[in-house]
């Protein structure tokens, strides 16, 4: 469940945690877009390194590393598939540039995981809901979204209990070939889904018995205001976007293979 750990919010006070979630989200989307635009390894490396100060400032390095470790399997998969395909298509030749392009595609994935991980690690579900509401998303949707985010760790814990219960009945999850292993998870997934549905029905009843949706117009105790740090992040985001567009259009990007 290490992937979930990397997305789990923990209350820490840091300059990054205090940033406005809307601006943070814009930043993440900007990084996302820039990572998609570039397929070369140097700008992607730059993007990767760019986020490290945020992680350190937010003091979430351990959880962040855990989320990267959780993504390692998929990253390795992307790398192998890319190297493999170019190997077969180029007539069974392995060129350094093929390896480099596979590495950059993998790095692109890692950058995406990295930025989303920072966002979710440093943004409380409450803040996120508030941001959605203030962006004029209907409250029902904002609520559904924050509830879903909030229940991820609960479900992860429940999945662990279910796995234990089935292991106690002799289920061996790691046994057999690939298909057998996938089938091994059926006794875990069914109780998990059933209990999630049951839980959501109970939650709906509990909410309605506490007059959820009684007033059409809701007000909030807290409201989001932009501070200095938010403007700084916004400026940085715009700066990254402008620089990315400029580099993409006018600067030829060398590959590592060429540099060597």
């Amino acid at each position: 469940m290490s992937v979930f750990d990397g997305l789990k919010f923990r209350k820490v006070y840091s300059p990054i945690h205090n940033l406005d979630p809307r601006i943070k989200f814009v930043y993440v989307i900007a990084i996302f877009a820039v990572a998609i635009v570039f397929a070369q390894i140097i700008p992607l490396l730059f993007l990767f390194v760019l986020q490290v100060p945020f992680v350190l400032l937010a003091r979430v390095q351990r959880q962040w590393l855990r989320s990267l470790r959780g993504a390692a399997f998929l990253a390795a998969f992307i790398f192998i598939v890319n190297v493999g395909t170019s190997y077969f298509y180029s007539g069974y030749k392995l060129t350094p540039s093929a390896v480099e392009s596979a590495a950059s595609l993998t790095l692109r994935f890692v950058v995406l995981v990295e930025s989303f991980s920072i966002f979710f690690l440093t943004t409380s579900p409450d803040h996120l809901g508030l941001a959605l509401e203030e962006s004029h998303v209907p409250y029902e949707f904002a609520f559904a979204f924050t509830t879903a985010v909030r229940f991820v760790p609960v479900l992860a814990e429940e999945a662990q209990t279910i796995m234990d219960a089935q292991k106690a009945r002799g289920l061996e999850l790691e046994k057999g070939g690939l298909m057998k292993r996938i089938r091994n998870y059926v006794p875990v997934l069914i109780p998990l889904i059933v209990s999630a549905i049951r839980r959501s029905l109970e939650l709906a009843e509990a909410m309605e018995s506490r007059a959820w949706g009684a007033t059409k117009k809701r007000t909030n105790l807290y409201s989001l205001k932009l501070h200095k740090g938010d403007y700084a992040l916004l400026a940085l985001t715009i700066g990254i976007l402008v620089a990315a567009v400029y580099v993409r259009l006018y600067v030829p990007i060398p590959t590592i293979v060429h540099l060597l």
Binding site: I162, A168, G170
Partner: protein, 275 residues
């Protein structure tokens, strides 16, 4: 036989749930582990079938160290019934649900059939054989979960909070059932808060608090020890409470059994101690 020696256990979030627990559960014994929420009861019993491995210390099940074998191998002898049956039910029919463990342990199809029938009868579930477990009531689901473990006839049985959500009649049946298992020489370990249930069954009792064992002994002794119970946030069984209040009249304090209580009161009446 289960032998735990100085077991420490730390969860991934650095919470030390067990701080040096040593306990021996003999073959054929009936043991209740009690204590408040978060005392480490469930964490401790999860070591008995290897679901958790000690951070330090050892747990031996029939002489085999749990770190040196698999959960599946241990589970064949140590049946573990979880608190919430919804954490394990997944099959289309009750019959399939009970057969699941048997198939995992490699029983032959005719043996599976025979044992499923046996387990269904044992827990009076025969009429639900072809029913979906999800359509049953809470108490029935709990019985299906129990049947699905009993089916492979493990030597030792661990029941985590077996009385939660059960009405009085079901508790009575569970008590009878545990006695029946005892007669067959099975080891039964229950984890519970239900002091009245424990008073009625009168097993050996272990009290836990903050990852340590703070008291152990026969039920009659532990359940009438107000200090030890208060430390574990457990109240005395009602009979013991009455007898504690009556102790100024010369009644013994350590009574937890209804029949014993009745006898003492009748004797007192006869000897004119009571009007």
């Amino acid at each position: 036989m289960i032998e735990a020696k100085d077991v420490h256990f730390c969860y991934a979030n650095k919470v030390e749930a067990l701080k040096g627990v040593s306990l021996t559960v003999k073959d054929g014994e009936f043991l209740a582990i009690m204590g408040q929420n978060g005392a480490g009861k469930s964490t401790f019993v999860k070591h008995f079938n290897g679901l958790l491995k000690p951070s330090s210390g050892t747990v031996l099940v029939d002489g085999v160290e749990t770190t040196k074998t698999s959960v599946a191998a241990l589970a064949r002898n140590v049946g573990f019934v979880f608190q919430n049956p919804d954490h394990q039910l997944f099959s289309e029919t009750v019959e399939d649900e009970i057969a699941f463990g048997l198939k995992n342990f490699g029983f032959q199809p005719d043996a599976v059939e025979k044992r499923v029938t046996w387990a269904l009868e044992l827990l009076s579930l025969s009429q639900y054989r072809k029913t979906s477990p999800f359509l049953l009531s809470g108490g029935e689901r709990k019985r299906v979960a129990l049947a699905s473990v009993l089916a492979w006839d493990p030597k030792m049985l661990i029941l985590d909070e077996p009385t939660i959500g059960q009405d009085h009649e079901q508790k009575e049946k569970l008590n009878q059932f545990i006695l029946q298992l005892q007669e067959q020489g099975k080891t039964v370990v229950i984890v519970t808060h239900d002091v009245e249930f424990v008073a009625e069954c009168n097993p050996r009792v272990v009290l836990m608090k903050e990852g340590k064992i703070i008291a152990e002994g026969v039920g009659k002794e532990i359940l009438t020890n107000p200090q030890a119970l208060a430390e574990s946030s457990i109240v005395l069984p009602q009979i013991a409470q009455v007898f504690t209040k009556l102790s100024s009249l010369g009644f013994p304090k350590n009574v937890i059994d209804i029949y014993e209580a009745e006898k003492i009161i009748l004797n007192a009446k006869e000897s004119k101690q009571l009007p």
